[in-house]
Symmetry: C2
């Protein structure tokens, strides 16, 4: 009997979690488990509360495995790549939380808040190295040549991540950030790792360069859509559900897509933005003001366009229909999510 | 005509510097050079003063290339590995400087002092990724299988680096650190990358596992000796020459080998140590007290023993005598250095 769509997600997630735990165990030092424990806490396996929210959604590894299956491959071959991208993602969260001074991650205190900045920087470094060690395990299932290609794909995505993070930090101090700057930023900060995930899936299925490119492009548009939706939720989402912070992007003055849209289309919104800090009491009024600029519908339409564009990339390159349906649902859920 | 010993060092260092600059250029973002510039500043190519001190001694890449030549290989084949280990070393310095709150590195303000902690964490991450991208270039000159082995060697060394850094940070808060703990620490924090360097050199010369092990062991003892000598200089060296700090390890209360020796062999030294901060005015007196415990001669003897042990590892596995003589001089200079 073929696995149902629900079965596929459950089976993949279980395998990912088991392999993630094995990978992180390598951080253990003889007689001292604390470096490991910091990583395990961040991954949501230690500390309180332990629940699915604390672990995160594991979207990237699911994308690797579903891309591999959809492209006609054996998902087990892509497992080291799936684990590696999730570890890279979590490495970047560990460091971003310090850089952005975030106190909460997935509803719990961040690692730097619990153990201090020095240990948290180092824990991030360890997580990053474990990701690369994990990816080397591809060579047990794939050819050496494909393994080296996979390493290059992941490294290039990581370089883009740091370039994106550099831009993000520098935009905070700039008053002239444009919507074009925004797309440059999220292309590297968010879309790079997601496009690497879907490309690694196809590569693990031994697809040729053209098909790998299609999966890469699928991931890129999906990643952009994901960030646009995140920006949407940063103003119109339920903050309690995201677990990141209880502050609207309007209060933290983050230069997200709807805000940049408002700034480039409304003199009134721009004047208010430039006046100084926005406090919780005036939030409803400023959200209304932003909505009159068309920012809300623009942001929603962008996310929808990007998802449609992403799915078009896969026309003709899905060999396993069941896996494709799961992948498609995942993509659509990303922009319909409430958190 | 064969290259002289001086020629060899000069030729290798020039090639390393050129390739390092090429590698770091990849951090450039279209229209924005600042991420690159932070890395180039740290590497000693930008900012003031620009001199050989600002660049550091490039010991690790020299060890890679000299190990390759000594083992009978073509040093050009090992160049990507040489560049990669230097980038890894500099990544660890960028993060260690934040974690240790160091204001000076090689006589100049540290990156985090100039650009702030968030950008400095991210610059370190970028340096680290460039190291791994660089190592992938080995596949242009070596087999895929050897390239994958090299990646594994470097990743394992990096994991040890982070484990060592975790221990170093945790020892700061402990009062029961023993000399055994010290060896565990420096084995991972200092010796791991140096032993990876010499092993990568031999591997790039296509040596078999036994010879690679000999070079690895050579590097390990050399790395331990290097750290012991660093500890010696932290008390008896000329602080102005090291460019790191103008404070004795006695003032910063770093748990180095001579200090741990003093603590485990002298009640008087231990009592003074436990009394509280040591100020500059009483330094000469406390150094004298430490010397009466035998800490100075113990530390010197340890460094000498370790260098002899290191060189013994290479008995019978040096095929290129000129390169071997340069490698041997480098090893001996490491423990006779004044800075």
């Amino acid at each position: 009997m073929l696995a149902s769509q629900e079965d596929i997600t459950r089976i993949y997630l279980t395998a990912v979690e088991t392999e993630l735990q094995k990978a992180v165990k390598q951080a253990n030092i003889s007689g001292d488990t604390k470096l490991h424990d910091m990583l395990a806490y961040h991954m949501g396996w230690l500390g309180k509360p332990i629940n699915s929210e604390a672990r995160g959604k594991r979207i990237r590894p699911l994308l690797v495995l579903l891309s591999c299956s959809t492209a006609g491959g054996d998902w087990m071959q892509a497992l080291p790549a799936a684990v590696a991208v999730e570890l890279v993602h979590n490495f970047s969260l560990l460091h971003d939380d310090i850089e952005d001074k975030s106190h909460l991650r997935r509803g719990r205190p961040t690692v730097w808040k619990k153990w201090g900045i020095p240990q948290a920087i180092n824990a991030g470094d360890a997580m990053f190295i474990l990701a690369h060690l994990q990816l080397l395990q591809l060579s047990e299932k794939l050819t050496h040549s494909v393994t080296l290609q996979a390493l290059e794909i992941l490294q290039r995505a990581c370089l883009q991540l740091t370039q994106g993070q550099y831009l993000d930090l520098s935009y905070e101090k700039r008053n002239d950030v444009t919507i074009d700057d925004y797309w440059t930023l999220i292309d590297s900060k968010t879309a790079a790792l997601i496009s690497a995930s879907t490309e690694l899936g196809a590569l693990s299925a031994f697809c040729d360069a053209q098909v790998c490119d299609a999966y890469r492009n699928f991931g890129r548009s999906l990643g952009l859509a994901f960030q646009v939706q995140d920006d949407f939720l940063g103003i119109w989402g339920n903050a309690a559900l995201t677990g990141k912070s209880n502050q609207s992007d309007l209060i933290t003055k983050k230069k997200t897509l709807p805000i940049l849209f408002g700034l480039s289309n409304s003199v009134i919104f721009t004047e208010r933005w430039n006046q100084g800090p926005i406090v919780a009491g005036e939030l409803d009024e400023i959200i209304n003001l932003l909505e009159t600029t068309g920012a809300k519908s623009f942001t929603q339409a962008k996310a929808n366009d990007l998802i449609s564009q992403a799915l078009r990339e896969l026309d003709g390159v899905h060999l396993n229909e069941t896996a494709y349906q799961v992948l498609k649902s995942l993509a659509l859920n990303l922009i319909h999510r409430q958190l």
